[in-house]
Symmetry: C2
Subunit: 240 residues, 2 copies
Amino acid sequence: MSTAGIILIGDEILSGKVADENARLLVEDLRSLGVALKKITVIPDVLDEIAATVRNFSDTFDHVFTSGGVGPTHDDLTMEGIARAFGGKVVRHPELERLLRGYYGERLNERNLRMADVPEGAHFVDGDSANWPVVAMKNVYILPGVPEIFRRKWMAIRDRFADAPYVLRNVFTHAEEGEIAAHLDAVVAAHPAVQVGSYPRFDTSEYRVKVTLESKQGDEVERATAQLVELLGTRVIRVA
Amino acid sequence: MSTAGIILIGDEILSGKVADENARLLVEDLRSLGVALKKITVIPDVLDEIAATVRNFSDTFDHVFTSGGVGPTHDDLTMEGIARAFGGKVVRHPELERLLRGYYGERLNERNLRMADVPEGAHFVDGDSANWPVVAMKNVYILPGVPEIFRRKWMAIRDRFADAPYVLRNVFTHAEEGEIAAHLDAVVAAHPAVQVGSYPRFDTSEYRVKVTLESKQGDEVERATAQLVELLGTRVIRVA
């Protein structure tokens, strides 16, 4: 089972100027790809924080995705932060410089070339590389913060992360959490491969608790669901 | 200037079953209160991760807000995680036990009493404490994951975090980032108290870049904005 972490880099999210769309997209897509997302962190545009967080995530998870902080201005520190995470520097990449010069032509400003600076040892991930490749450093995939470009880049590389799918069952009950907690314990103990979640509602919806049972081992999910349904008896509203 | 961190605890967000509403509310409210939000982290229902993250945040920021993982079921590990963060245990609080017994009456299940378990040394924060107080451990405010209850609890305590307000100016330009990067550097160098952000757009909106200038020192924001407007000249579309 492969694991992933997401790092959102940018004061704009922490200060409420921009609402995140990128992590939201990745959360849903990673789940449908069968990748276990283990952590999301939002940090400011601060070099040492970027470096420390990236290094920690890279050591801990199979895949790491960063969003934001790539561009030509003073607050774009992601490339340097990632280089520092691995004890290296940023270097100007000749292929990216060529693409930039082709794109900007006469309008090219010296500062635009900063977008050709990548961590030493970085590699390109295929996708729409004729246009502009996704840059990765080891297992860290460096994506831009602007949502429409983030989405396009991610869609170009997403399929390479596909893993065995998750199987999910939902059991809805009109019992309260306290009433079913011991039954949930029994299911959790009998089926360690199944992740069991309990989500109460306090509004006027049809159910009081939704229990989720999820695993990559589909047969275990079915057995755990059957056990829970038997334990809850008439308190089950429906299984989906 | 006071700082804050947010910890969202729960597999349901990482697995895409539930979209976060609580951090979003806090991000906006903390900014309007003048509190500098420095980090948001989303972690799973894993005891040691809760403990390590809470301890780190508590040591690093003035205020820490946790969301989720409070309740009577096996996946509700926040109280124990926070207790562990500070080297303590959870203890059953007599006042909370009394409230629970009053609320549930004859329907009380033994497991409901787990909701009276709090980290040793925790204190109550006022607000709607006649109903159910907000529990805090040192500078860590423990809030529930269910959005409607999260909101109610937060509204009951939010005013106590009020700090000096931020002053924000936005400068919109039709120039590209590469073209204005050196000017931004000059403004950043001349006004270290001002946080300068540069946010490009690539769609068909009226502007190409929005520059934000923000500080608690309002006069410095005005001076930095004036400097930038002069440097950009006719490339400025408007200031807001």
